[in-house]
């Protein structure tokens, strides 16, 4: 049963896939959810019927001024922030010597620098609200994955920063955790080559690919029941991370 609250959550990358599932979950739990995504995605949502407690807001996480504007909007519209879920992300697969500076910078800007910039700007709002939860959506790629140097670096950086962040903000009543999804069926993962997809699915011990709701359930636990959990990485991968992804 959901509990109606006056609490505010901001979810980045919420227009589709995992972010959309997290938004739906938080909305169902009674949060007022600020659904953020790139402007053209938000424009598409303007033509859809959203729950009354879901408010779309354009946010390009890789853009400094856009981040500042988004947090200022939350501050002026709601005066508080209780939950921040950094879900926006992108990947540009390439082996080490093929990683271009442009792709590296873009990946780090969105997945790592932008996410932490939002955390830093949001913390005063969370502190004044009496506490809250920061959830950074990382990836099991932080353990290492062939052909994803820039991506795994960005997610590993997110996890490394979150460990120290948890130590720093625990006394404020704010928890900081990471969720590391494995293979999740999203529009992005649907673009995988058929052979890679088949091997990936075969390597998942629970015998199925993950769905966005699997990650939303993990977020729900951390937000609704995990006030004593901080600085952790919750790997949601169907057990694949204890197998042998190297042989893929």
């Amino acid at each position: 049963m959901s509990v109606r609250t006056n609490k505010i959550a901001l979810v980045t990358g919420a227009g589709s896939g995992i972010g959309a599932a997290i938004t739906a979950m938080l909305s169902g739990e009674g949060y007022t959810v600020v659904l953020t995504d790139l402007p053209h995605v938000i424009e598409q949502h303007s033509h859809q019927t959203l729950p009354a407690n879901v408010h779309p807001l354009p946010l390009d996480v890789g853009d400094r001024s856009s981040r500042i504007e988004a947090i200022e909007t939350v501050a002026s519209e709601y005066g508080r922030l209780d939950v921040l879920v950094n879900c926006a992300g992108l990947g540009r697969d390439a082996r080490l010597t093929n990683i271009t500076d442009r792709d590296l910078e873009l990946t780090l800007d969105v997945n790592l620098i932008g996410a932490l910039s939002l955390v830093r700007q949001a913390l005063p709002l969370m502190e004044s609200a009496g506490g809250g939860a920061v959830i950074n959506i990382a990836s099991r790629a932080w353990l290492g994955i062939f052909g994803s140097g820039a991506y795994s670096a960005s997610k590993g950086g997110l996890i490394g920063a979150t460990r120290s962040l948890a130590l720093e903000i625990g006394a404020l009543g704010v928890t900081a955790n990471c969720i590391a999804p494995g293979y999740i069926e999203t529009p992005l993962s649907a673009t995988l080559p058929a052979q890679v997809l088949e091997k990936t699915l075969h390597s998942i011990p629970v015998g199925r690919g993950g769905v966005p709701d699997d990650i939303a359930a993990a977020v729900r636990y951390l937000v609704c029941e995990g006030s004593y959990v901080t600085g952790q990485v919750l790997t949601v991968c169907g057990g694949r991370s204890i197998g042998d992804p190297v042989s893929l």
Binding site: G144, G157, I159, L167
Partner: protein, 184 residues
């Protein structure tokens, strides 16, 4: 240090500093003897993350500087692999030295943790990729480079040089700072 006059049996090591000038370590890690002649077969990348700083006091520029450090590490790894290929090195070794504090986490260390975590995960992925190129990549999580620790690191670098099958490992050399803690 006296350079031997006979051809070296041990391969040469090149030290690369990221984030600070780490050349003083060349002597402390006893690398000069290996750098006298011959093709470079080991690259030792020493990463110095940003100094601890309360996250609330950090700026956008601090985050950008951290990104630059990560980018520099990627460039150093690319350069090392390119060099190995150009020199036709049969078995190359890359060792990345990171402060254990940055990796394990501590208060006021979001920015060091950001860089440490990024480099650690980067190394894990690149170690997987380089298996096909007969290049090993190992990570040393170090402390304050005491004399005793430098001797331990020098020994490890030698082991990495001579054992190409030893790859993707993360070794703490600073008196077990990871004991009893969840490892990153």
């Amino acid at each position: 240090m006296n350079h031997p006059t006979t051809p070296l049996l041990l391969p040469a090591t090149t030290l690369v500093g990221i984030g600070s000038d780490s050349q003083a370590l060349t002597a402390k890690l006893d690398l000069e003897v290996y750098a006298a002649e011959g093709a470079t077969q080991q690259v030792c990348i020493v990463v110095t993350p940003p100094a601890p700083l309360h996250f609330a006091a950090s700026t956008e520029e601090d985050l950008e500087d951290a990104k630059t450090l990560i980018t520099d590490v990627v460039h150093s790894l690319q350069s090392a692999v390119t060099k190995f290929r150009e020199q036709g090195v049969a078995h190359g070794s890359i060792a990345v030295l990171l402060p254990s504090k940055a990796v394990l986490g501590e208060e006021s260390s979001v920015l060091p943790g950001l860089v440490g975590g990024a480099v650690l995960s980067l190394c894990r992925t690149i170690a997987i990729e380089l298996k096909k190129d007969s290049v090993s990549l190992n990570t040393v999580l170090h402390g304050d480079f005491s004399v005793a620790e430098c001797a331990a690191i020098a020994s490890l670098l030698h082991v990495f040089r001579c054992n190409p099958a030893l790859t993707g490992q993360e070794i703490f050399t600073a008196d077990g700072p990871n004991l009893g803690r969840i490892k990153p």
